[in-house]
Amino acid sequence: MADQSEIDALLEELSKKDSEELSSIMDSYEEKDESEIQDKAMEHKPEKADFSGGDVEAEKLEGVRLPPKEHRVIDRLDEINKESEEKVNKLFEKLEAISSEVDEVEQLIENIKPYVNKHKEFMDFFVEHFPKSSIKKNYEYFKNIIDILNEIENRVNTIRDNTFDAMDILQFQDITRQKIERVISVIKALHEYLNSWFASDYERTPRARVAHTIVDESEKDKVDQEVEEIIKQMQRGEIK
């Protein structure tokens, strides 16, 4: 924009020129003004907002950039479900490996037992018939070994029980997965309401029916009893 002094100078110049010169001067001024405005505008033009996070493809929807796939709620929850299932399967593999090792240890104990028992029978006989023999001291040691062996066997059984309990607890993953599926179903309803803001590929993926009721662990025994009662009622023909 020209300031007042520039305008005054221009008016003075104009008064000295004829009309032809006048239009020529006006054209050059307008061209200069336009291009300056363009240049200034380009200097301050803000860059387009980029939510794509770099190399990730971001969909355009009527001029609006959507967040990348890994930031979309349903896709992310699906990914979490998938990852947790993979990790739990790996955990299960480890527990199965422990269980298998425990079986082998137990088998080794079983293999040793006949020899130990045979040896004990021999020592029992010897100590009984030669009570003053020096072997009696060894016999006490030997009885300690038998006690230790029995203790190892007990510990092995405890490890096996704990391993099996841990395997049973891993059912939580499937139950949690179904809880997340319920959250997804709520988001899906929101998605339909908000239309494309939560755009995702999820509609093309076959999904499991969403669980209606997921039992709270504190009520599990009560629920199991109710299930039993309903089955009995059905069997008695009381439920039509």
């Binding site: 299932e85 739990v88 299960f92 199965e96 049973d168 993926t205 209606h212 997921i214 299930v227």
Partner: protein, 124 residues
């Protein structure tokens, strides 16, 4: 005894398979991810017991049970449903569809054993 376990969760299939082995039913265990896949297996393989989940993609457990009961080739195979669904109306719906017994997750090996014994007894 040949058992098929139908569940979309690989973790659950693994847990059921492992539990069956622990309680003495681990002779032969087949696996399917959904009802459709299980039906394909049943078309070609004789099975003594079906253990199925309810909520699965492609074909859910309830539809699967109805299809099993509608097929003369394997309509008498006992079915145990193992699911998170614990509402009374859901249990009745499953039993009416042809489920022989019903287990709510999470289950213990003892419960699974008792239910198997119950349904196999019914079969006899």
């Amino acid at each position: 005894m040949r058992i098929i376990t139908v569940d979309d969760s690989s973790t659950m299939r693994r847990i059921i398979k492992n539990t069956l082995k622990r309680i003495g039913y681990g002779d032969e265990i087949l696996e399917a991810e959904n009802g459709k896949e299980a039906l394909e297996i049943l078309e070609n393989t004789d099975v003594d017991l079906i253990i199925t989940d309810w909520n699965m993609p492609v074909m859910d457990g309830l539809t699967f049970v109805k299809k099993v009961r509608a097929n003369k080739k394997f309509d008498d195979v006992p079915i145990i449903m193992v699911t998170t669904e614990a509402a009374k109306e859901d249990i009745i719906t499953a039993l009416k569809a042809g489920v022989n017994n019903y287990i709510v997750k999470p289950f213990t090996p003892q419960v699974l054993k008792e239910k198997i014994e119950a349904v196999m007894g019914l079969k006899d």
